[in-house]
Point group: C2
Chain length 243, copies 2
């Protein structure tokens, strides 16, 4: 059967999602725990190959197995074998042809900025600390230019291998709760570093370095150098995927 | 001059606040960083001697110094020398006779319970994970019996050295936001393990093990064995003190 896992993790201690020769990754830890549990070699296919240091509440991984353990029980058995910073939230059987990257989906990411005078030791894992006051209203105005179908080449790492840089952003909301500013973005897919470059650019807008209207020009220039810096990975959490 | 620090910390990696022979404590780290910074031996006096693993957003520490560094600048210089899990939020000069344990104060603590089916790796530091459904309304009813001036002997570790076990609880609120239940308690002082025993007892009420009205009987028995277990330290955060 084909099994689908919903995987939450704190990415601080990992070299990202994808298996790589030098460094422990979320995918490699999952593969090892699943292979040990099920007694057969398992290699999962992930929906989002998150970067080093990025967190998730709901990444999706799929694999095939001959096990007789019911699909929905695998999560409990697997969590016994996983480190504390990776927790499977759900396991279920899916159609044999389900592939998490080859079907339409809506992904939601959240970038969190801790905007206050001093660091908060309890929020240092999943927020990016930013000292200077950010104007949320300006960030909201700028965000509006990014909603819709656009060529996001300006908001994409030059190291991308994507065939096309056109993506659709369904929603892009900027909210403030206490001293945490959240940039929440939902789209049909994201380019390499796209959410972090959008966050870095909105931070420049919020701090007054660039005008909200300039984001429209940045988008039209289709050039990475036009946008703001890539915001640090620690502030980014993948919230979930709807297929 | 006498300087007062507001100190935030994640307590996970420390043997509590108070200096002790075996193990690193918040107080010992502060003393060393201050002594190095100011070039004179410093020993702070803390307001709350939090237990091992307990966190704080606003504990208070006081010390005397001959330094010419302005009091309000000490926080910035000190944070450069502190580990990432201890962050001074404010430093200011106070009256030469101010003592954080020998004056009237209101302390606020929050106990956070993550009440869901699976652990959340991003909330594992500052919440206590509890799998079974908790009924917040029952917990609120039980909490009402604890508000006011009472002899809290039942909610105090038998290892206490307190002269009296009478304390006043001004407010005790139970709230739920998403899957986090917060027990927020404000009082004129707390006995050894008092907040964690109150949390452990309210969890028993919320899970249906004991009735809300039983908390009145537990209080009147004045006996530690009558109350629920001491809830784990990781869920407890000291929020602040008002003098």
């Amino acid at each position: 059967m084909r099994v689908c896992l919903t995987v939450a993790y704190e990415g601080t201690n990992y070299h990202g999602w994808q298996v790589q020769p030098n460094g422990i990754t979320i995918e490699s830890v999952l593969n090892q725990a699943l292979s040990d549990l099920l007694g057969e070699p398992i290699a999962v296919t992930g929906a989002s190959r998150t970067d080093a240091g990025v967190h998730s509440m709901g990444n999706v991984a799929v694999f095939d197995t001959d096990t007789r353990i019911p699909a929905e029980k695998i999560s409990y058995a697997l969590n016994q074998r996983l480190p504390l910073d990776i927790v499977v939230q759900e396991s279920k059987e899916v159609a044999a042809d389900f592939h998490p990257r080859r079907c339409e989906s809506r992904k939601t990411y959240e970038y969190r900025i801790l905007n206050r005078r001093f660091r908060d030791p309890l929020r240092r894992y999943d927020t990016y600390f930013y000292y200077y006051d950010l104007d949320v209203e300006r960030m909201r105005q700028a965000a509006l230019y990014l909603v819709g179908e656009h060529d996001f080449r300006s908001f994409c790492s030059v190291h991308t291998c994507a065939e096309t840089t056109v993506r659709t952003v369904y929603t892009l909301d900027v909210d403030k709760a206490g001293d945490v500013i959240s940039i929440r973005i939902c789209g049909n897919g994201f380019l390499y570093n796209m959410v972090r470059i959008i966050a870095g650019t909105l931070i420049q807008v919020g701090s007054g370095m660039i005008a909200p209207e300039q984001v429209k020009d940045i988008l039209e220039l289709r050039e990475r150098a036009a946008a703001g810096p890539t915001a640090p990975a620690c502030g980014l959490t993948m919230l979930g995927i709807v297929f």
